[in-house]
Chain length 271, copies 2
């Protein structure tokens, strides 16, 4: 039995989606058809959304679930007239928060993922440019880096750096350890001199071979033997240099990024 779930907002619906998704991941064995409805910013659009919800309710049987972040009262009311269970983040928490802070919220639309905080937004864009210009060892001038990820090719460095830049506004560089690097007893000097910014990424050799196989099928690069050699050598090298490491085998880029920020002490007051 399928149930429709809608993420509805007057802005991007990214908060609404994050909100609903985090709750739904706690329920397995249900079939959810998930629909995003961003930019529902007029009462008329809310009525259209309510019609869509009512049709889904009729078709599915079980009432749809709506996770919404609607700041405007009238839009919220129009939405709640639909045949759905509506969970609204603002309607639930704003009254209490207004009471605690002793002021009324602005109830203005589309703030959460806009560029109202221009400075912070520009930091994120600058960090994204930095990550691209310092990806994959392109540049070894790492003076301005907040963090430098080190690991063998395809261990997950690039997407983790891009996430750290886009989401947290951190200048994240990365350097792939080559076979030449792995034969030496120490890390290259341009890395050693930034040791407190270094963080290692490792990965199970089996998983690495799978990933490399899709990239260069049946190559020496993708062979399990080569992957085992590189992973073992990289882990030894990083351990001997006292560089902390995480494995990307079973961790998402979000988990890796959050953990690295926490351990390098980069996670506080960066807002």
């Amino acid at each position: 039995m399928r149930r429709t779930v809608l993420f509805i907002s007057d802005g991007t619906a990214i908060t609404a989606e994050t909100f609903g998704h985090s709750l739904l991941t706690q329920f397995s064995g249900h079939e959810f058809r998930q629909v995003r409805l961003p930019f529902v910013d007029t009462v008329e659009k809310a009525r259209e959304a309510a019609d869509l919800i009512d049709r889904a309710a009729e078709k599915d049987g079980p009432k749809p679930l709506v996770f919404s972040t609607i700041v405007d009262g009238d839009i919220g009311v129009a939405l709640r007239e639909s045949n759905a269970h509506v969970f609204d983040m603002f309607a639930t928490f704003m009254p209490q928060l207004e009471e605690i802070l002793g002021t009324a919220g602005s109830h203005s639309v589309g703030k959460a993922h806009g560029i109202s905080d221009t400075h912070r937004y520009e930091d994120r864009m600058e960090a994204t440019n930095y990550a691209l210009a310092h990806d994959d060892g392109i540049s070894t001038r790492l003076e301005n880096a907040d963090v430098i990820l080190v690991g063998v090719s395809r261990s997950g460095k690039t997407p983790t750096c891009l996430y750290m830049a886009l989401h947290f506004g951190l200048k994240a560089a990365n350097y792939p350890l080559t076979e030449e690097d792995l034969e030496k007893p120490r890390l290259p000097d341009f890395l050693r001199k930034h040791k407190r910014k270094l963080y290692g990424l490792t990965i199970d050799a089996e998983r690495l071979a799978e990933i490399r196989q899709t990239r260069r099928p049946d190559s020496r690069y993708a062979s399990l033997k080569q992957c085992r050699y590189e992973v073992d050598a990289a882990e030894s090298l990083l351990r001997s240099e006292g560089v902390s490491m995480l494995s990307s085998t079973r961790a998402s880029v979000e988990e890796l990024a959050s953990r690295i920020l926490l351990e390098l002490g980069l996670d506080r007051d960066h807002f």
Copy 2:
């Protein structure tokens, strides 16, 4: 008067941060010191967090605000013993959701930003690799693209593509319109044949000149005259080809990405 705000979770705290941040953006004129506390996944760590909160309360005067997403009951209890206003997403919504769905939630930690949905996670990583390999016109083989952004250099195409890839798992390519392209009456053929995937990004010439100025100071490339010429020519070209456009001048990558997904019909059932 400063007030400490904490985003606390047993996982990455990304949901908790999104949750609290979206509510706080409704209140201006308050000074918030914001602290992320991810991976609070034992009662002991929750007690440490509670101590930190109590010390902040003593120092600040006003009680701290805590936005949390804690699935474990005992950890939540330990946290609520602190001297703070605690807003917990799970404690608030899970009981009602469990009743509606007729099953108990798993109350297992760190689901929201993990890789429990392996297939979707791999799509996102593959899309990120795709975006990098099809950034800035590197490749004109665009058969597999879900969306192709077109616009003048530095109009915001790259970060928007990276966001669409990392967040939505969409294969997003982008192509910068060169002066040579702008002198022609039509878009290049390798773009024209994918017209229904094309989306234009534009930007105010003044803002573009500012951005280019930081990149290549006092160049012809960064001059207001050149920026005006390029923006006008690009807008005419895209309009004459019937390609929709958005301006990145006052829109964030999140807003651009969400709007483009909606307009190209890419936003439904991609989960």
